[in-house]
C-alpha cells in the first residue's frame, strides 16, 4: 500500500501537527485534526495535482477540516476553552519562568483570535508562507490575507508583553 504519496504525507506530518496545534491550541485536538485531514487526503488523492505543492494542499485540507469541525460543534467566536490550552512541550523548552509565561500568553492570545485571523497568522508567521501562498491555500485574495493579518496582529501584540509603546 505504501507509495511515494504516502511517504511524502508522513514527512509532512510534523509541520501539519504544528499548524493544527496552532489552530486548536491543544496538542491532542491538533493530532485528531491531522489524522482526519490525512485520511481525507488519502480518500481524495486523485484530486492532488502531481507537481503542485503537497504542503499547500494539506494546509488547505487541515484548515477546512478544522472549520468544518468548528461548525459541527456550533462553536462561535473564541472557540477554545482556556482550560484546554496547552503550552507546547509543557513549557520545558523555555528555561526561564518569564519565558514560559510569554509562551503561555502567546498561546492564549492565539486562541482568542477569530478563526480566519488565526489561520492566516499561523500560515504566515508560523509556517512561513508568503502572502501569495497563504492566499492560495485559503483561496482568497492577497488583500484579504493582509487585512486579516493586520487585524490579528493588532489584537495579538498587546497581549504578548513585548509591546514598547501605546496603542494607536
Amino acid at each position: 500500500m505504501s507509495n511515494q504519496f504516502q511517504r511524502d504525507l508522513v514527512a509532512l506530518v510534523p509541520k501539519l501537527r504544528r499548524f493544527a496545534f496552532s489552530l486548536t491550541c491543544n496538542a491532542a485536538d491538533g493530532d485528531d485534526l491531522v489524522q482526519s485531514a490525512c485520511e481525507k487526503a488519502l480518500r481524495n488523492r486523485d484530486q492532488f495535482q502531481a507537481g503542485s505543492r503537497l504542503d499547500s494542499w494539506m494546509y488547505r485540507i487541515v484548515q477546512t477540516a478544522w472549520l468544518d469541525d468548528m461548525r459541527k460543534r456550533k462553536v462561535r467566536g473564541p472557540s477554545v476553552d482556556p482550560d484546554d490550552i496547552e503550552l507546547g512541550d509543557e513549557g520545558r523548552g523555555a528555561s526561564l519562568p518569564e519565558d514560559r509565561m510569554m509562551l503561555a500568553s502567546v498561546t492564549t492570545a492565539m486562541a482568542s483570535l477569530p478563526d480566519p485571523q488565526r489561520v492566516v497568522l499561523s500560515l504566515v508567521a508560523i509556517e512561513g508562507l508568503s502572502y501569495k501562498e497563504a492566499a492560495d491555500v485559503l483561496e482568497v485574495p492577497v488583500g484579504t490575507v493582509m487585512s486579516r493579518l493586520s487585524r490579528a496582529r493588532e489584537a495579538l501584540l498587546p497581549h504578548l508583553g513585548i509591546s514598547r509603546g501605546g496603542r494607536q
Binding site: V13, P14, K15, R18, G93, V106, V124, A125, R164, G165
Partner: protein, 246 residues
C-alpha cells in the same frame, strides 16, 4: 503603537514580502524613525514567539496513530524516530533481521549481558561518561580505543532527570551499541542498551540489521511518561551548566 509609515507596509517588510529595493527604502526609513523600528522589532518578536510556542511537534516522532492512518497497519513496525546523523537504518522486518539479539532494557525485557556497554553507573574516567557530559547531539567523538561515539538526543524526563540516547560504533567489530544514559547526581548511569550487528554500507557509514533500536529505546524512554527532547539551544545550555538545573 503609532507609526509614521503604514503598518501594513512595515509588516510586509518584516514578513519578507518586499522587493530588495523596497526593503532598502524601509531600512533607511527605520534608521530615522525609531518608533517604526520599535514596531518592526515587535513584529519580529511576535513572529518568533509564535513559532516557538507551537514548535513542539517538530521535535517529536510522528504519532503512531497518524502514521497508521497514512501508511496502513502493516507498516507500523517501521519506526521513524528522528534522523540519526551517521547511521542509515535498514527498515526491514523485525524478528527476521535482528542479527545480534542482545537487548537489555531495564524494566522492559531481560537478556544476556552485552559486552559493549554495560548497564549501571559509569566511572567518571570512562570515556563514554565524557561523551555524555559534554557531547553535542550529532557530533562524532573518537574514543581512545578506536570506537566512535555520538549522542543522538537529549531528553528531559518526567521525573526531572536528564537522559541521553547515544551510540557507540565499533568498526572493527562490526557492531553498534545504542544506549540510554541518565544523570543522577554527579554520575551517569546506563539504563538501557541494545547491540546490533552493523554491516558496512559503501561509504555511507553503517547499516543496522533491523532498524528497531529506536523503537525499543523509545518504549524505554516513554515508560514513565513522555520525555521532552531538548533542542540544540536547550541542550547547549544544560551542558554549560553541568547538568545541574533540574
Amino acid at each position: 503603537m503609532r507609526t509614521v509609515m503604514d503598518k501594513d507596509h512595515l509588516a510586509a517588510f518584516a514578513d519578507g514580502e518586499l522587493s530588495p529595493e523596497e526593503a532598502a527604502k524601509v531600512v533607511m526609513h527605520l534608521a530615522d524613525n525609531p518608533q517604526d523600528q520599535a514596531y518592526v522589532d515587535e513584529l519580529y518578536a511576535a513572529n518568533e514567539a509564535l513559532a516557538r510556542a507551537f514548535s513542539a511537534p517538530l521535535q517529536e516522532p510522528v504519532p503512531e496513530a497518524i502514521r497508521e492512518a497514512i501508511m496502513g497497519k502493516a507498516a507500523t513496525n517501521v519506526v521513524f524516530f528522528r534522523p540519526k546523523p551517521k547511521l542509515a537504518l535498514a527498515l526491514g522486518g523485525l524478528a527476521a533481521s535482528v542479527a545480534v539479539a542482545a537487548v537489555l532494557l531495564t524494566g522492559l525485557s531481560g537478556g544476556p549481558q552485552s559486552t559493549g556497554i554495560a548497564l549501571g553507573p559509569l566511572a567518571a574516567i570512562d570515556p563514554v561518561a565524557g561523551v555524555l557530559n559534554t557531547g553535542v547531539s550529532g557530533a562524532l567523538v573518537q574514543l581512545p580505543d578506536g570506537r566512535t561515539s555520538m549522542v543522538l538526543a537529549t531528553f528531559g524526563m518526567p521525573d526531572g532527570r536528564y537522559c541521553r540516547e547515544f551510540e557507540v560504533v565499533d568498526i572493527a567489530g562490526g557492531r553498534v551499541d545504542y544506549a540510554v544514559g541518565c544523570r543522577a547526581g554527579e554520575t551517569w548511569t546506563i539504563e538501557a542498551t541494545i547491540a546490533e550487528a552493523a554491516v558496512e554500507d559503501l561509504g555511507q557509514g553503517f547499516v543496522t540489521a533491523s532498524g528497531d533500536e529506536a523503537n525499543l529505546l523509545t518504549q524505554f524512554l516513554e515508560r514513565g511518561g513522555a520525555p521532552v527532547m531538548l533542542d540544540a539551544a536547550a541542550e547547549a545550555d544544560v551542558i554549560s551548566k553541568g547538568w545541574s538545573d533540574r
